[in-house]
């Protein structure tokens, strides 16, 4: 007797579950292509790097092993079961056998055990043991992998912060301009065109170079973001303005206007909600630009300064051709930049295909 009601409740629950945002994410996930899934996983990993750097990095990014500059990446070996009490993995410590050429040889007589979940790190070595360099060390003997993990903080955040700035600026200016029309509109758009025709990289160089050198890393970070957002918001505003102008004459906006809706109400209740989805997708496509811009500036020595790490300034050691030839692992941060940019590209492209049908190729 109770059965139909129970079934009904169960069905209702199922419907409710399917409507939840977790279900929506699940549906999107199942529908996405493999490349998109991989990109999402990769970015998630990078954000974990950024959020939990002290945990993920095996060492302090500033710790120097003065006797081991430019050490090549070490190989991991699985430990035999009899030695599992020391750790499951080990590496042979490296010995600098030619300090001039910085040539290293594995010391096969000893073993450095790499322990997992040890001393508050995902993996690290015992305090008195020689270090384990997963991706080699740089010219001051600092662990490159630890520095990459900490560098993820800068590179992963710069896109989000930059997009947040240019997004809010662009959407306000663009929507306002589109709503107003007439003289204000064309004046604002001419201004945007001026901004867009700036030789952006030259301009970026000229502005970034005057960042005072004594600033903290955080302050430098925000200055760089501000400069890049200042250069890039205009193009964004123009796109939004185009959309807003077309929404302006839509019947529901006309109706709201006829009912005596104030300009602010029109803007915040009708125009901005209409364009914000599209704008978000469009903004996500500009994240790689920020990552590339920051790494380029840091690479040239104008961005994030030592001893803080960013993927760009880790590469600056490679500016000397000889370094690339002898210590190629110095280029690994470049792989991280490429991977992050590619993942954002795949993801942004996917979002655009899903949520902006007008632009689908």
């Amino acid at each position: 007797m109770n059965a139909p009601a129970a079934t009904f409740r169960a069905e209702n629950r199922a419907v409710a579950e399917r409507r939840g945002w977790t279900a929506a994410v699940g549906r999107e996930w199942r529908a996405a292509a493999l490349t998109v899934k991989l990109s999402a996983i990769l970015l998630l990993a990078f954000y974990v790097f950024a959020a939990a750097s002290p945990l993920v990095a095996p060492y302090d990014p500033a710790q120097q092993w003065r006797t081991m500059p430019d050490c090549p990446p070490m190989r991991l070996h699985p430990a035999p079961p009899s030695e599992w009490s020391h750790g499951f993995l080990y590496a042979y410590p490296m010995r600098l056998d030619n300090p001039i050429a910085r040539h290293y040889a594995e010391d096969r007589s000893r073993r450095t055990f790499v322990r997992l979940f040890y001393r508050g790190h995902l993996f690290t070595t015992a305090p008195d043991a020689p270090p384990f360099f997963l991706m080699g060390s740089e010219n001051l003997g600092r662990d490159l992998f630890s520095r990459i993990v900490y560098g993820a903080r800068v590179s992963m955040c710069i896109g989000l912060v930059g997009v947040a700035i240019s997004f809010s600026l662009g959407i306000m200016v663009g929507a306002f301009s589109g709503l107003m029309g007439g003289f204000a509109d064309s004046a604002i758009m001419r201004l945007c065109e001026i901004e867009m025709s700036l030789p952006s990289f030259y301009f970026l160089l000229a502005l970034a170079a005057v960042i005072p050198s004594g600033l903290s890393t955080t302050a430098t970070f925000f200055l760089i973001v501000a400069i890049m957002a200042f250069i890039s918001w205009a193009g964004f505003a123009r796109v939004i303005r185009g959309m807003a102008a077309s929404v302006r004459s839509a019947p529901y906006v006309e109706a709201a206007r006829a009912l005596g809706g104030s300009r602010r109400r029109l803007l915040f209740r009708h125009i901005i909600p209409a364009v914000i989805g599209f704008a978000a997708v469009n903004a996500s496509l500009s994240i790689p630009g920020y990552i590339l811009g920051e790494s380029a500036l840091s690479l040239l020595g104008l961005g994030i300064q030592e001893p803080a790490a960013s993927w760009g300034n880790l590469l600056s050691q490679a500016m000397d051709p000889q370094t690339i030839a002898y210590f190629p692992w110095i280029l690994i941060p470049g792989l991280f930049i490429s991977a992050a940019v590619m993942a954002f590209n795949f993801l942004g492209d996917h979002l655009r295909d899903r949520f902006d049908p007008s632009n689908a190729a």
Binding site: Y202, F203, A206, I211, L292, I324, G334, S338
Partner: protein, 326 residues
Amino acid sequence: MLRFLARRILIMIPLTIGITFISFAAMSLIPGNFVANLALDPRISPQVLKQMEAEFGLDQPLMLRYARWLWGIAHLRLGVSLAYRVDVIHLIGPRVLNTVLLALSSMALTWLLAIPIGVIVAVRQNSILDRTLSFLSFLGMSVPAFFLAFLAIDFALWSGWFPVGQTMSPDYAALDLWSRIADRADHLILPALVLGLAGVASLMRLMRSQILEIKNADYVRTARAKGLPESIVLYKHVLRNALNPFVTMAGYGLADLLGGAALVESVMNLQGLGLLLLNAVMKRDVPLVMGSVLMGTVLLLVGNLLADMALAAVDPRVNFTTLEAQ
């Protein structure tokens, strides 16, 4: 057309003034200047520093200095570089040539590669070739140019086939005309490839989507219905129309190209405008920085103008009246 030209050139003037003023103000408002950098050297006496400051006019207010600089520009004088003590024009001239050569050759390379590949890929839509190349193009768009530049240097060192850095050999002055051209080309290949690869990827994708869009247009169906051979349909109807956005892209791509060139120059140590600007900016050599920024701006604006004019020439649907209305 004259009206259009006059309008565009007139707009350039306030544009250039705005850009240069922002750069000038940014350079001047931050504490420290060229002379302050020298003050770190104990061998230079304070009197000499004072004298230099007065000579360069660095002790004067910002607006006055900017007005002076602008007055010089109006008389086609770019000023004297503080660090090199030569007319900025002599420093910039050869550098502009190098940068323009690099940008143009990489653009030519991009087009020569991207258009045929885009056509092939679009004609064989969804084939394995198409999928592979589309994936590779994503890869190409994602690898930053400076990282490619590092790889290129590594390749040049490893293979020994290409010179590393510089835009010409040390004995360039002693060469005859043809050897000079060959020498330049030899130094240009790798940087142009590095700079152009991202462009190849994105233009290829654009070409592909353009062709796929046009392939189903009414006039293409008409052409087929008339019984025209497929090659003529492809080249005269599809390709011809698919090329139009490329002309516009050429102008706007120039901005990216100039910016990218500045970066590739710095990494690969090429004597271009970008490297000059970078060094000048480090030394706070204001006239040199301003000269480079001005050059970059003018190159960009003229490039955009030429692209618009080319579009009007190529696409009969676009003329100067519609351009002006934009």
